[in-house]
């Protein structure tokens, strides 16, 4: 489907490792948290790529590392023929015009001492995109675009509700007419009725302004709704990647199966009859991720090989990738694979 198109952003083996001090007060052991540990991903123009995973899986760090808001440890982020991960700070600043972010917390991400007009106008000044009456007109247009009355221009963030603040954050991101926006949990802090408004707004803006999104969320219902393709992340790695429809209808990898079956559905009839894969235990610490497949400690399908072999993200079905040695293109359904068999291991040969 995407084969002939050029990606807007190509992420190649991106790693973000943080130093962490552990051990006792006296004998400090140097350890690293491998928040993002070798992610390769293409994001195509005009699409919304949903990035989903539980807290601590590294999804926000990945989003921030693409924009260099967190420094990558290694790997490449290709955008318009340049590797963002290795640009000088001043060259990177110039690229920020095209790459924007919307944050989760609309309360913490807006400067409380600036008026809405100053907040939205700031990036316009930074990149010298407009001045004077032209700038004022732009700010007003942006307000209207995101559904806020231009009457509010002189107000401060605290005078707005959460949903309205998120609209201000979106207007600020749009002010520089970017190509790519990382939306990091943009609806998580909002009420249900407001979430729908913001999702619809983001979707409309994407179509009208030819935007490309990386939409990061732990909310699988929202991800399903907004995304064209979905990437599932677990302990720093992408474990499944597919068109949204396919990944929800036929998840391949056991973690994705469990995630999707855990989503509550607002229909008592469905809830009564659903078979739920309830996972045991918690997500292991990224400081000390399990060997082999990182999911094996919680995986109901794990066999001995899973504890040893690190699975690669391979294409199991057309455009549907999964990292699990217990499945293969010939045997994509893990429930039908013979006990103890790992058809994925035979692929490499």
């Amino acid at each position: 489907m995407e084969a002939e198109r050029e990606p807007l952003i190509s992420i190649r083996d991106l790693k973000v490792h943080f130093p962490a001090t552990g051990g006792s007060l006296f004998g400090r052991a140097r350890r690293t948290v491998k928040a993002v540990d070798g992610v390769t991903l293409d994001i195509y123009p005009g699409e919304t790529l949903g990035l989903v995973g539980e807290s601590g899986c590294g999804k926000s760090t990945l989003g921030r590392a693409i924009l260099r808001l967190t420094e990558p440890t290694s790997g490449e982020v290709l955008f318009r023929g340049q590797d963002l991960a290795h640009l000088s700070n001043s060259d990177m600043r110039a690229q920020r015009r095209y790459l924007q972010i919307i944050f989760q917390d609309p309360y913490a991400s807006l400067n409380p001492r600036m008026t809405v007009s100053q907040i939205i106008g700031e990036p316009i000044d930074t990149f010298r995109l407009a001045r004077g009456s032209e700038k004022r007109r732009r700010v007003q247009d942006l307000m209207e675009t995101v559904g806020l009355s231009a009457r509010f221009l002189k107000r401060y963030p605290h005078e707005f509700s959460g949903g309205q603040r998120q609209r201000i954050g979106i207007a600020r991101a749009l002010a520089v007419q970017p190509d790519f926006i990382v939306a990091d949990e943009p609806i998580s802090a909002l009420d249900v009725s407001i979430q729908a408004q913001i999702m619809n707004l983001l979707d409309r803006l994407r179509r009208e302004q030819a935007l490309t999104y990386l939409f990061i969320s732990h909310d699988l219902r929202a991800i399903r709704h907004v995304s064209d393709r979905v990437a599932v992340m677990y302990l720093g790695k992408i474990v499944e990647l597919a068109p949204a429809k396919n990944i929800y209808a036929q998840p391949l990898m056991p973690y994705t199966k469990a995630l999707i079956s855990a989503v509550p559905v607002a229909d008592p009839k469905v809830e009564l009859t659903r078979r739920r894969v309830v996972l045991e235990g918690d997500v292991p610490s990224p400081m000390n991720p399990p060997r082999g497949c990182r999911f094996h400690t919680r995986c109901p399908y794990a066999i001995d090989d899973c504890r040893e072999v690190e699975p690669q993200l391979v294409q199991i079905k057309p455009n549907h990738f999964a990292a699990c040695i217990r499945i293969s293109p010939e045997q994509p359904d893990i429930d039908r694979v013979a006990a103890g068999d790992a058809p994925g291991l035979r692929l490499k040969a």
């Binding site: 807290s55 949903g163 249900v192 009725s193 407001i194 999702m199 509550p264 559905v265 008592p268 739920r276």
Partner: protein, 338 residues
């Protein structure tokens, strides 16, 4: 689940509960006329967005409203036949934690960070059941095992920060169920948790409810959680009960435009993608409610009467009520669609 009242006695009956707060902007009617009945062994879901009054309603039930600025201005809360609002503070404290237990959204703020988990659990039964230290410790470990804490005996002496969010919520549940309460109030118990952990905790509450026969009030903003967990649902908006019905009925045939809007604005992960319905506008400022229906400014079918007159609480079936001038019409539409 049986809804036969002859076999299932009423545990809790709330009549016309009103809790108001004095604020700089005037009186905020956070809860304004909530009534319901909860039978033994049943689960009631209370759904609403922030500011709907769902949490205040439940804090009122166990008299945990800070006073001032809050005040329960009217109502009856009959728990096992006694009116909680007329009891002495000591009598309320005895009920709280023993017969009625609560779990909150954020277990980190509800657990004492400086006290070992075991000690916090032991305090509950030492206070309420008169357990000796030894008894209390044995019971604490048994409860931790019951809620699925691995190596409970060793981990009991950990501090809360040594537990993950899901484990802390399990500890809260263990603590809440320590005295075998008759009623468990769970206020957004899984909102701070990841979806796989949420599934674990909800399964746990279901299982323990079945084992102990406790009634549960589950407060949440998540209609999906309500669908899978409850027998009855109350939908609150602006301090009022907007709709009240058995769960299956409410989801199949909502009789209120707000409920309908909420149901349509949740993306269904199993359905095809399409444009998502959105309720326009913002939740109201409780200090400045419009004269008519509080939802009228956001309601797509509002007419003049909605903007001018407060709506009636219409009975649609003996168990299904809706606060709307057009409740019968909305209900008929929903019936036609289901």
């Amino acid at each position: 689940m049986s809804r036969n009242s002859s076999t299932n006695g009423t545990l809790l009956e709330v009549k016309d509960l009103r809790t108001y707060f004095a604020t700089e902007d005037g009186v905020v009617k956070a809860v304004d006329g909530v009534s319901f009945e909860l039978k033994r062994g049943e689960t009631l879901g209370i759904v609403g967005e922030s500011g709907s009054g769902k949490s205040v309603a439940n804090l009122s039930l166990i008299r945990l409203i800070p006073e001032p600025p809050g005040k329960i201005v009217s109502g009856e809360i009959l728990f096992g036949g006694r009116d909680v609002l007329k009891l002495s503070p000591q009598a309320v404290r005895d009920i709280r934690g023993k017969q009625i237990a609560m779990i909150f959204q954020d277990p980190m703020t509800s657990l004492n960070p400086f006290m070992r988990i075991s000690k916090q659990l032991m305090e509950v039964t030492q206070t309420h059941l008169g357990h000796s230290k030894g008894q209390a410790r044995a019971h604490a470990i048994k409860m931790l095992e019951l809620v699925g804490i691995p190596d409970a005996r060793e981990r009991a002496d950990n501090y809360p920060h040594e537990f993950s969010g899901g484990m802390r919520q399990r500890v809260m549940i263990a603590m809440a169920l320590s005295c075998r309460p008759e009623l468990l109030i769970a206020d957004e118990p899984t909102t701070a948790l990841d979806v796989t952990i949420q599934a674990q905790i909800l399964e746990l509450i279901k299982r323990l409810k079945a084992e102990t026969g406790a009634s549960v009030i589950l407060i949440t903003h998540d209609l999906g959680v309500v669908a899978g967990m409850t027998d009855h649902v109350i939908v609150m908006y602006a301090g009022k009960v907007f709709e009240q019905a058995p769960t299956a009925e409410l989801f199949a045939r909502p009789g209120n435009p707000y409920t309908r809007g909420l149901l349509r604005s949740v993306p269904d992960p199993l359905a095809e993608q399409g444009s998502l319905y959105q309720i326009p506008g913002l939740p109201p400022d409780l200090a400045r409610l419009p004269p008519g229906c509080p939802f009228a400014p956001r309601c797509e079918r509002a007419e003049d009467v909605c903007r001018n007159e407060f709506p009636p609480f219409v009975q649609l079936t003996p168990e299904h009520h809706s606060l709307c001038h057009f409740a019968n019409e909305v209900y008929a539409e929903s019936k036609g669609e289901s």
